[in-house]
């Protein structure tokens, strides 16, 4: 691995290390002490950490690509598009590490409460999470490439956030429209209780509950496929926009 990757990882270690530490402490407490109370804390922390760190990842790539932060990397031989992709890759790697770490405690928790569906649920959960991260990365890259053409920092930032909300909201609605049934319940958030299954529209967590508890088998492939499709679309927009746009004077 080249030095620039390691340095970029070192630059953003702090927030993710803090989240991993706190998540580990809460996850251990959930297993060792009063289960219900710490289960709530752990779930709340997972959602909060995920939201804050996803926002952080957005701010890092937006700050670099749009605001010109990290002058050192801007002066290097990598094109702004490649360097932005590098930064996003580091953020996604950290988010995935956080997910894996929290997943360890979720798996231990599942073993603790006892379920014979654990391998199936975890397989879907991991696949869904990986697809959601890819979708998040691609959509964010596509959006910042689009707003790069906007003059004015405030207008561009508001436009980016509105675009992200619209794209993710539309994605969630499409997922619901494609998979809902009469006896299922949908809500935002995550849960560790069965037969609720956690799915993602981009990184927006959605709980899908069904009385039978077997609904995960049918809804997961659709939601995963939808995330992958949006990710491919986002990558296409990113590549098209960065190839067409004049990012600066420099021919690299």
């Amino acid at each position: 691995m080249s030095t620039v990757w390691l340095v970029e990882a070192r630059r953003h270690l702090g927030p993710f290390a803090a989240a991993i530490t706190v998540g580990g402490l809460l996850g251990a407490a959930r297993l060792l002490f009063t289960p219900v109370t710490f289960d709530v804390f752990f779930q709340l922390f997972s959602m909060l950490a995920w939201t804050v760190l996803a926002g952080y990842a957005f701010s890092v790539v937006y700050g670099y690509f749009f605001l010109g932060r990290d002058v050192f990397l801007h002066l290097g031989h990598r094109s702004p598009a490649r360097a932005t992709a590098l930064k996003m890759a580091v953020q996604i790697a950290y988010l995935f590490m956080l997910f894996c770490w929290l997943l360890v405690f979720n798996a231990l928790w599942m073993a603790h409460v006892g379920t014979d569906e654990m391998p199936v649920v975890l397989t879907y959960y991991v696949t869904a999470r990986v697809a959601s991260l890819a979708c998040f990365a691609a959509v964010v890259l596509a959006i910042i490439a689009v707003v790069k053409r906007i003059h004015g920092k405030t207008v561009a930032l508001i436009s980016a956030l509105v675009m992200y909300a619209v794209v993710t909201g539309g994605h969630a609605y499409l997922m619901w429209w494609m998979t809902h049934r009469g006896d299922t319940t949908w809500a935002l958030g995550i849960a560790s209780d069965f037969p609720v299954v956690n799915q993602y529209a981009n990184i927006l967590p959605m709980m899908i509950g069904s009385p039978t508890g077997t609904y995960a088998d049918s809804v997961s492939p659709t939601s995963i496929a939808l995330n992958v499709a949006v990710a491919v679309l986002g990558c296409g927009v990113w590549i098209a926009m960065t190839r067409r746009a004049r990012l600066n004077f420099y021919r690299r």
Partner: protein, 233 residues
């Protein structure tokens, strides 16, 4: 083979917020191998011009052209505080294709700087020396140094000036922006004065006396005349 100018801008305009930072700047540095002084009052547009040429400004009109690559020393630190000087060299070798680690290592030795020290632990002057050594370690045709002498003592300032003279490639053009004009008359082969986002003077050595404080006098006169002319009768 005909070689183009070291740097050429045509109709370069940059607006930052509501301020017209550069206004239709057309500047040609014809001859390579020169040291050019870029002078101007605070807010004149020196840094914006350098940032635009270095490719750090996206929102612009006009064109910029130069030969090869450009090495830019910004007026604020751009290396990461948590890295040691040695780590910086390793990182620069990865980020800049034209970086010669040996040149920078030699410069750091000359300046007496330790390579195991973190940049965050260096004084501002020492940090500035490391930054300049890194920039001069790049083998470019055009160097843009924005206020490289602002935070260093007079002895180190002389050492840095000698470094610039000795370690730039012979065909490279160096553009130095500085407020510390006094006593530097002998350093520059050419000077460019910028005010209110416009180039108001471009002059070769010979139009000032390199031996005394004449460069500062010329600079002040040009600025004064330009501002009087703008106010009108």
């Amino acid at each position: 083979m005909a070689v183009g100018p070291a740097l050429e801008t045509r109709g370069l305009s940059v607006t930052l917020g509501r301020t017209r930072a550069l206004d239709d700047v057309s500047l040609t540095l014809k001859d390579s191998g020169r040291i050019v002084g870029l002078f101007g009052a605070n807010g004149a547009g020196k840094t914006t011009l350098m940032r635009a040429v270095a490719g750090l400004i996206n929102d612009y009109q006009g064109t910029v052209d130069f030969q090869g690559t450009v090495a830019f020393l910004p007026d604020s630190p751009f290396l990461y505080d948590f890295l040691t000087v040695r780590d910086c060299l390793r990182l620069c070798a990865d980020v800049f294709v034209d970086f010669d680690r040996d040149v920078t290592a030699e410069l750091l030795t000359q300046l007496g700087l330790r390579t195991d020290q973190r940049l965050g632990e260096c004084s501002r002057g020492m940090s500035e020396q490391v930054h300049l050594a890194v920039v001069l370690g790049r083998r470019c045709r055009l160097y843009l140094l924005d206020e490289p002498l602002a935070a260093v003592d007079p002895v180190t300032r002389d050492a840095l000036i000698d470094m610039v003279r000795a370690y730039r490639p012979s065909e490279a053009t160096v553009v130095i922006s500085t407020h510390l004009i006094g006593g530097l008359g002998g350093l520059f082969d050419e000077m460019v004065v910028i005010d209110s986002g416009r180039v108001i003077l471009q002059s070769d050595r010979g139009s000032w006396d390199p031996g005394d404080q004449d460069l500062e006098r010329v600079f002040k006169e040009v600025i004064r005349e330009h501002r009087l002319a703008r106010r009108g009768p």
